[in-house]
Every structure is written in structure tokens, then in C-alpha cells.
């Protein structure tokens, strides 16, 4: 693999260059990519990952200068959403960067030491400290003051480019939990690899592990996805038969089609869509049916069901606020985002919501009170259940014969449709389907490199 290291403006060999916004940094990298040819991968560490995600969005939108991007490698990456860094740590980092040389040298070394899981070999620690001291203080401050806060969540959207996300288990702000909650939602084909025992400076701490992960990913860039819910052959035959109305047949086939893994949410943002997927994985454990994406599409189209609980805001806003509240509840109780919680803990939070007992103070990110969370979870359960039973695989599982009651008739007021001739107990007609039990589904386990 040929590797081309590129410095961001204000850092390393580019320390004299200006333009510190994420877009400006992306412009510089884009220039370097345009100067070369052939397919390429793009890797970014920390703030560089946010730049890489921005470039991937431009590439997928058809920027000719960025053609050829084959995959992303995001190491200890800063996500498209504002970076989750505590305010006290941020102000400390701002306080010494343009202090006197002695303070700078001391703090820079401490900064390096605070960002590793164990300890670096001394020569690595020295060169890393030198890199910090070499950086333009204005660039350093610009990142902490604005770049890290830039909210590119909706703009980056969901990328189709295969991506490897690598996180250090000891990284305080950008470890595996943060990557799962804030970076993976942007990657339709993303894989998270956690490197144990290392912090934020993962490439310096375990360069071999990182190289191995990148090579593995290059060899096998995407994981298999769950197939859409299967329709048993007998039910498929019924759908194809004359007993089923043509309009219904088209609708059933459309509903049975696989969901786009790179579905770009329109009502929710990608992070919220990921939380909704996690909720629906508990509410509606059906492999291969992206109920969250389908609900988002409905919310975006403004196709409501004709009413809403007066206590709740408009449907799309209710979903957004409720999902953020649920995530805040998870962070308050478990110090972890909702999407990474074990199923039983997710269930416990949802059960609290159902009982009207999920209360999160606004200061901790709660946006709906316990009563409203109860109303919202009722709506969400109903949305999921209705969506499920519009799917032909679900109807097959029920052994539902109603789809076969119709058929087509050329007459405006139909004549001669089959319907049912028998409606009594225990008298199924010979063509009526039996219930069908699909194979149980197990979610894919998260990968871990050691």
C-alpha cells in the first residue's frame, strides 16, 4: 500500500498555511488528491477524520477531482456532530497553547501523556510533543473554538463509501462508544474496530494493530447485511396469483424490497436515525426490515395519521426530541449512549418510558418529560407495528388469507371476485395459507481487535 501523509493547515509541514475551518482543511486535502490519479483510500486521525468525512461527502456528490475514493479509515475520529469534549478540558487546552515556552513545553508533554492509554516510547513521546509545539496556535485554537463544534451531521449525511472506524478503548471522548453513536450512523458500510489499551493517539500507541486493521479491511471492506425478511414460497405464490388485486401485488412487492443501507434520513438526522434503529431493534426484532428508515420517510412526507396527542409537538419534532431524551437518559444512567447499551438495559429504559417514568432533567439533555415520553413511545410502538404488518413477510407469518380475498375485475363495481365462501370457525378454504415461522435472527456481534 502506497501511503501519502498530508498535513492539515496550521500543523506539521503546513504550519504556515491558513484556513482552519473544516471546509478549508478539506479544500487543501482535495487539492492534494486532485494532483494525483488512480483509486485511493482516505485516512484521517482525530480532526482529520471529520475532514475525511467531509471529503467523502463531496466525492459521493460527484466532485470530479475526488473521483476514485474506495474507502475511508477513520482513526479516533472527530465525528460530524459537535465533538463531545467536556468544557473544562477544552478551556485548559486553550489556556496554554500560546503561553510562555516553558509552560508550553510542559503542558504539551502532559497533553500527550493524557491522551494515551499506557505510555509511549520516549522517542515517540518527544516527537509527538514537538508536533504539538510546532502547530500554529491559531490553528489549535480555531479547532477547539469552532472546527470541533461545526455541526456537519446533516451535511455529511449517510455515506456509501466503505469505512473502517478504529477507536482506542481508553480514548476519553472519542472512544468506541462515541464512534458507535456519532460516526457509524454516517456510514452505510462502516465497521468499528476497537483497539484495547490505547487512548486517542492510537496510531502512535499501536501502529502495528492499526496497520493490520487497515489491511484486513482492505481485503474485506464490507460485512454481510441481513437479507430482507423472507417470504415463504407458498405465500409468494399466493401473491402472484389471480386472487390478489394488481394494485395490492405491486404494493406488497414494493414493501418486500430490501431497504437501502445508505438511506439518507430527511426528518431525523443520521445520529437520531441510529437511535431509532436501536429502539426498533427492541420493539420490532425483525431482521432486514429498516422500520426506522421507513418511519423517517413517512415523517418527512408529512403523512400523518390524522391526529396527535396534544401534549406532543409535531410528529417529526416529537420523534427527534424523544430519541435525544432517550439517549440522554442512557448517558445519565449508564454513562453510555443508547445505541451501545446491551439489549436488556435498552429494554429497561424503554419500559420506563412506557410507564411514564423516564424523566431526564433538561440540563442533562432531556427534551420531553416523562408523560410525553409515554405518549411518544405509544406512537412509536404503533408506527412500528403497523409498518411490520404491512410487510408481506409478516402477513405470511400470520398465515393471513385476506390478501387473497380480492383479485381484479374489469367492472367499476366489481363482479365475480372470489372473496370467501366460508366464514365459519375451523373451515379454512383449501388455498388459505398456514402461519409460517421464520428462522430466529441474531444480530451481528461487534468486532474487537486485540
Amino acid at each position: 500500500m502506497r501511503v501519502v501523509p498530508l498535513d492539515l493547515p496550521g500543523f506539521g509541514d503546513a504550519r504556515e498555511e491558513s484556513g482552519y475551518s473544516v471546509d478549508a482543511m478539506a479544500d487543501r486535502i482535495a487539492g492534494a488528491i486532485a494532483a494525483r490519479s488512480g483509486p485511493y483510500r482516505l485516512a484521517g486521525h482525530s480532526m482529520g477524520a471529520k475532514v475525511a468525512l467531509t471529503l467523502a461527502r463531496r466525492a459521493e456528490d460527484g466532485d470530479p477531482n475526488l473521483a476514485g475514493l474506495s474507502s475511508l479509515v477513520l482513526v479516533s475520529g472527530s465525528p460530524p456532530s459537535p465533538e463531545p469534549i467536556p468544557e473544562d478540558r477544552r478551556s485548559r487546552m486553550l489556556s496554554w497553547i500560546d503561553a510562555d515556552p516553558e509552560t508550553r513545553a510542559r503542558e504539551a508533554r502532559q497533553f500527550i501523556q493524557a491522551n494515551v492509554g499506557g505510555s509511549l516510547p520516549l522517542d515517540f513521546e518527544n516527537s509527538a510533543t514537538d508536533d504539538v509545539l510546532r502547530a500554529a496556535p491559531a490553528a489549535w485554537k480555531a479547532w477547539l473554538d469552532s472546527g470541533a463544534h461545526e455541526d456537519l451531521c446533516r451535511r455529511v449525511g449517510v455515506l456509501r463509501t466503505p469505512a473502517l472506524v478504529v477507536a482506542g478503548s481508553e480514548d476519553a471522548d472519542l472512544g468506541p462508544d462515541a464512534q458507535a453513536a456519532l460516526t457509524l450512523p454516517h456510514l452505510a458500510h462502516g465497521r468499528l474496530v476497537t483497539v484495547d489499551g490505547v487512548g486517542h493517539l492510537l496510531p502512535l500507541e499501536k501502529p502495528d494493530a492499526l496497520a493490520r486493521a487497515i489491511l484486513d479491511h482492505a481485503a474485506k471492506p464490507s460485512d454481510p447485511r441481513a437479507a430482507p425478511p423472507a417470504i415463504p414460497p407458498g405465500y409468494a405464490e399466493l401473491i402472484a396469483s389471480d386472487r390478489v388485486n394488481s394494485r395490492l401485488r405491486s404494493a406488497l412487492n414494493e414493501r418486500a424490497a430490501a431497504d437501502d443501507p445508505a438511506y439518507a434520513p430527511q426528518a431525523l438526522d443520521p445520529v437520531e436515525l441510529a437511535i431509532l434503529r436501536a429502539v426498533f431493534a427492541r420493539v420490532l426484532p425483525v431482521a432486514g426490515l429498516d422500520a426506522a428508515a421507513r418511519v423517517d420517510a413517512r415523517l418527512a412526507a408529512g403523512r400523518g395519521d390524522g391526529w396527535r396527542f396534544i401534549a406532543l409537538p409535531a410528529d417529526d419534532e416529537a420523534y427527534r426530541a424523544a430519541l435525544r431524551t432517550l439517549d440522554a437518559a442512557s448517558r445519565a444512567k449508564h454513562e453510555r449512549p443508547f445505541v451501545v447499551l446491551a439489549g436488556d438495559r435498552q429494554d429497561a429504559l424503554l419500559t420506563l418510558a412506557q410507564k411514564g417514568e423516564l424523566a431526564v432533567p433538561p440540563a442533562l439533555g432531556g427534551r420531553l418529560d416523562a408523560d410525553r415520553m409515554r405518549f411518544w413511545f405509544e406512537d412509536a410502538r404503533a408506527d412500528a407495528a403497523r409498518l411490520y404488518l404491512s410487510h408481506p413477510a409478516a402477513l405470511a407469518r400470520l398465515g393471513f388469507s385476506g390478501i387473497g380475498a380480492g383479485g381484479d375485475s374489469p367492472a367499476p363495481i366489481a363482479r365475480g371476485l372470489p372473496g370467501f365462501t366460508n366464514t365459519r370457525l375451523d373451515t379454512p378454504e383449501p388455498w388459505e395459507p398456514e402461519p409460517w415461522e421464520p428462522e430466529p435472527w441474531k444480530p451481528l456481534a461487534e468486532e474487537s481487535a486485540r
Partner: protein, 516 residues
């Protein structure tokens, strides 16, 4: 419905009447006035569907539900949309359940009988001939003899009894409760009503609530509306009425409406407001008309419509057949009641999406238990009530501060049970649980539910306490008439559509007699 050969009127022409809404309240009015030779135009907010669109599917049927958002509050917030509100030529009758019990005579004088609720300003005797005319015209199917009304005769034999009906019949036998095949506005054999198309006998597909493909169900688009059009009435689909122009005397001179993105007006001599118990008061509150009594929007009522569900060893397949094919009226006045009024019980078969919605909301199931329970669909059956709701000050429809896409304020409906409804509900739940136990049900559970939209423009004898007189005429604007569920002073135990149609005939004929 086919409107190709329909007579049309120019907007400048002053027609005899504009009818706003083409459901159970508007369609019969339109037919009676047109048949009398009047020039009439109906404005329907929704599109003109043809039955070819009806495709035996719940999700595809979303288009026939009124899905403009309403805000639901109160202690028992009611669901709207597919639960009770329709759009399109034919109104919510496109998706109604066609379950057509008549009101019990006692329900119209509840206050005299119990001191609770209110009396209706008309007697059951006055209503009866109109009931008979509607039943004969629609082609109502029902039992040869009706256990609770010896004189009643239905024009057609009953539709097939289905699985839940068989279970309920057996349970009623075991408990000594009288039962009957349900009166259903679904033709059990081929039938052609005056001015309408030939309708084939019901094929028992079970999709009454999704639009009837065969015309067996008496939706307005295969009954009163074709009759109206055959007599020269005009129906304008996708025409949303939002205002009125008045002459110097305060009478309505024109209806203002939106069609094809443009505001239009139809000049007229009279208006029949038939938009249902949410949109009718909403339009009056929006325009500030006919509300000197302060009663517009007040006494909103939904029926107590609790259901009890159970799992049976039998293969029920409740999607087959007319969904509510059995009835008992033995609880219209229960002997041991600690409440005023009563309820009827019907057997229930429900199609999957509707059922899943109820399970997710009402039973609160999710996760694997939800999937497992829904998986037993072919062995489930329910029974449910339609129970009296008394008028109540706290139950009010008002305009919210939120506006719709047109800039019109959305309706906000606060509804909650009071003591009477709660007691009735407890009684009915006990009776239904007992019946389902007798039927052999396992895993029995109760779904609390509110149905229908009634009240908000009550009829009465006094313009100080009612919006319209006993014939549906506004006390304040003498060429404004209301014909829909909004005029109900109390809910009655019976499902409302048959009574709305009967009252519509009566209102229209009163207008012909004295209103012009």
C-alpha cells in the same frame, strides 16, 4: 364514482343549495333536494375515488381517511383519521363499518328516564319512518325477526356469520343472553337501489373499512350520491369550503372554497353543512357564524367503544366475512346498572394492521411478545361495545393556535369519560370478559377505545342553549342547516350513521316544506 354525465352549474349561478360534505349527513340531503328538482351543488374536500382503487389492503386505504391533523387531548384522548374520519366523495362512509342498529327509543328521552344527560327534541316515533326508508333504500341485511323490536323487518337476509360471531353466539347462549345476526348495510344478495348501480351480494372479503370494491357495502358513492346525480345534482371533489359570504340580512349568499389552489365562491340560497362533528364546528368557529348560543364546539362526544380480545383453540380467521356480524342489545338497559343508558355488544373481526395498532397501543406489547402475539392472529377474536356517552362541559372542540397548510386553525378536541362512562365501561368489561370466558377464550385482555365523532352543534328547542332547531336549521341564520353527527344532543348507544342518514332525510324534507 362516475361523474362523467353529471350536470354542472356555474359559480355565478345562484343555486338552491350548497351541501358541504358528501357523507352520511350530506349525501341523503343532496339526493332529496335534487329529486325535488332543486339546483344543488355538493362541495367535497376529498378526491373522487373509484372503487377500482380499493385494493383489499389497509395501508393503501390511508388515502380515504381524513389525515389532516387534529389535536387530541383530555383524559381519554380519541384517535381520529382511520378511526372515524374519511375523505373523498362519499365521506367517511367510504370506510364505515356499515353496522346499522337503530337508536333505542329510551335513549332519546334519557333525561326524563334517569335525570342524566338530555332528551332529544324529537321522538323515536318521528324517526322511525325515516329509519325504515333508509334501510329499504340502502338494502340493509338483517335477521328475519329482531329480538328487541318485534315489528322490525329488514329488507335482505343477514350476511354470513363469521368466526367471532359464532363464538359470541355460543357464549350468549351459555349465559342466557339474546343475540341476533347484525343489521348491516351490506347487501347479502344482488341489489340495486333507486338511481344506483347493481351491487353484487357481499363476497365476505372482510375489508369493509378499506373501501368496498364490490359495492356490496352501502357507501354513499353507490347509493344516495348516484341518485342525487341522476336528478341533476353536481358534486365538486377536492373543494374545501372555508368561508361564507353573507347578504345584508345576514343570510348566507355564497360559500367560499378552495379548488385547484384557487379561491372560488358558489352563490346559493341555502347551505347544508354536513362536514361531520369536527369539521362542521371548526368551520363555524373559523367563520364566527351561528354561535350566539356559545354552544358550537361544546359537548363533544365519542362512544365508549371498549373491546375484549381472546385467543381460541379454534381456527377463527377473523378477517373473513362481515367483521361485526352478531349483535346483542340486551345491555341497552342492564338491570344491575349503576349508570344511565347502556350499550350494545357486537362481535369483532379486525384486519392485521388495525389489530397490530391496537395491540401496540392498547396492550402495550413490543419486542418478541408483540411478534409472538400477532403471530396467533388466526386464533384471535374480539367483542366490543358501543356505549352511551353523556354530554359534558369538559368535552369541547376548540380551535388550536396551530394552523394547517391553508392557514386555518387546527381543531383541538378535549374528551374524557365522566363517572357515567366509567361505570358503564366497568360493567361492560365485566360482561364481555364473562362472555369470552364462556366462549373458551384464553389470554383475555381489554382494549379501551373511543369511537365516532358526535355533538358540538347540538339540536334543541331553544336558541339560547342549542345551535340548531329539531330539524337541523340554525337558530341564527335561517338559510343555514346542519346535517351530520354534530347535531346529536347525546350519543345514543347505537352506532350513529343510520341515525345521521335518517335525520338527513328529515332535515331535507323540512327544508323543502318550509325552508325555501
Amino acid at each position: 364514482m362516475n361523474l362523467d354525465a353529471m350536470r354542472t352549474h356555474s359559480e355565478d349561478e345562484t343555486v338552491d343549495a350548497v351541501v358541504i360534505g358528501t357523507g352520511a349527513g350530506g349525501a341523503p340531503v343532496l339526493a332529496i333536494l335534487a329529486a325535488a328538482g332543486l339546483k344543488v351543488v355538493a362541495l367535497e374536500a376529498g378526491p373522487n375515488f373509484t372503487p377500482e382503487k380499493f385494493a383489499f389492503d389497509e395501508t393503501l386505504a390511508d388515502e380515504i381517511y381524513w389525515t389532516e391533523e387534529r389535536l387530541s387531548g383530555g383524559s381519554t384522548p380519541e384517535a381520529f383519521g382511520g378511526n372515524n374520519s374519511g375523505t373523498g366523495v362519499g365521506g367517511s362512509m367510504l370506510h364505515w363499518g356499515a353496522f346499522v342498529p337503530r337508536a333505542d327509543a329510551r335513549d332519546l328521552r334519557l333525561h326524563t328516564e334517569t335525570g342524566e344527560g338530555v332528551d332529544w327534541p324529537i321522538s323515536h316515533g318521528e324517526l322511525r319512518p325515516f329509519y325504515e326508508r333508509v334501510e329499504a333504500f340502502l338494502g340493509v341485511s338483517g335477521p328475519r325477526s329482531y329480538p328487541w323490536d318485534a315489528e322490525r323487518r329488514y329488507p335482505l337476509p343477514p350476511v354470513l356469520r363469521n368466526g367471532p360471531a359464532e363464538l359470541m353466539a355460543g357464549a350468549c347462549e351459555a349465559r342466557g343472553i339474546r343475540w341476533a345476526d347484525a343489521p348491516a348495510a351490506v347487501v347479502s344478495r344482488d341489489f340495486e337501489s333507486e338511481g344506483g348501480p347493481m351491487r353484487q351480494g357481499c363476497i365476505n372479503c372482510g375489508f369493509c373499512h378499506q373501501g368496498c370494491r364490490t359495492g356490496a357495502k352501502a357507501s354513499m358513492d353507490v347509493t344516495y350520491l348516484p341518485l342525487a346525480v341522476s336528478h341533476g345534482a353536481e358534486i365538486r371533489p377536492e373543494s374545501f369550503a372555508h368561508g361564507f359570504e353573507r347578504d345584508r340580512d345576514g343570510r348566507i349568499a355564497a360559500v367560499v372554497y378552495m379548488k385547484d389552489g384557487r379561491e372560488r365562491r358558489q352563490r346559493c340560497r341555502a347551505v347544508f353543512l354536513c362536514a361531520g362533528a369536527v369539521e362542521t364546528p371548526r368551520l363555524l368557529l373559523h367563520t364566527g357564524l351561528a354561535n350566539g348560543s356559545g354552544q358550537v364546539g361544546r359537548n363533544y362526544m365519542g362512544h365508549v367503544a371498549t373491546q375484549v380480545w381472546g385467543t381460541f383453540d379454534h381456527e377463527v380467521r377473523m378477517n373473513r366475512g362481515y367483521p361485526s356480524s352478531l349483535i346483542t342489545e340486551d345491555f341497552i338497559r342492564p338491570e344491575d346498572a349503576d349508570f344511565a343508558g347502556g350499550y350494545l355488544i357486537q362481535s369483532l373481526g379486525v384486519v392485521p394492521v388495525t389489530f397490530a395498532n391496537a395491540v401496540a397501543r392498547g396492550r402495550g406489547l413490543w419486542g418478541q411478545p408483540l411478534l409472538d402475539y400477532l403471530g396467533r392472529y388466526n386464533h384471535l377474536a374480539g367483542i366490543g361495545i358501543n356505549g352511551e356517552t353523556l354530554p359534558c362541559d369538559a368535552n369541547v372542540l376548540a380551535l388550536s393556535d396551530e394552523t394547517d397548510a391553508r392557514g386555518m386553525r387546527k381543531a383541538r378536541i378535549d374528551f374524557g369519560y365522566s363517572t357515567n362512562e366509567n361505570r358503564l365501561n366497568v360493567h361492560a368489561t365485566k360482561v364481555m370478559r364473562d362472555l369470552w370466558e364462556a366462549a373458551g377464550a384464553k389470554d383475555v385482555w381489554v382494549l379501551d377505545r373511543v369511537a365516532h365523532t358526535l355533538g358540538t352543534c347540538r339540536m334543541g328547542r331553544d336558541g339560547g342553549t342549542a345551535v340548531v332547531d329539531p330539524h337541523g336549521r340554525s337558530f341564527e341564520i335561517d338559510n343555514l342547516w346542519i346535517s351530520d353527527g354534530s347535531t346529536f344532543p347525546s350519543s345514543l348507544a347505537a352506532n350513529p350513521a343510520l341515525t345521521i342518514m335518517a335525520l338527513a332525510l328529515r332535515t331535507a324534507e323540512r327544508f323543502l316544506a318550509v325552508g325555501r
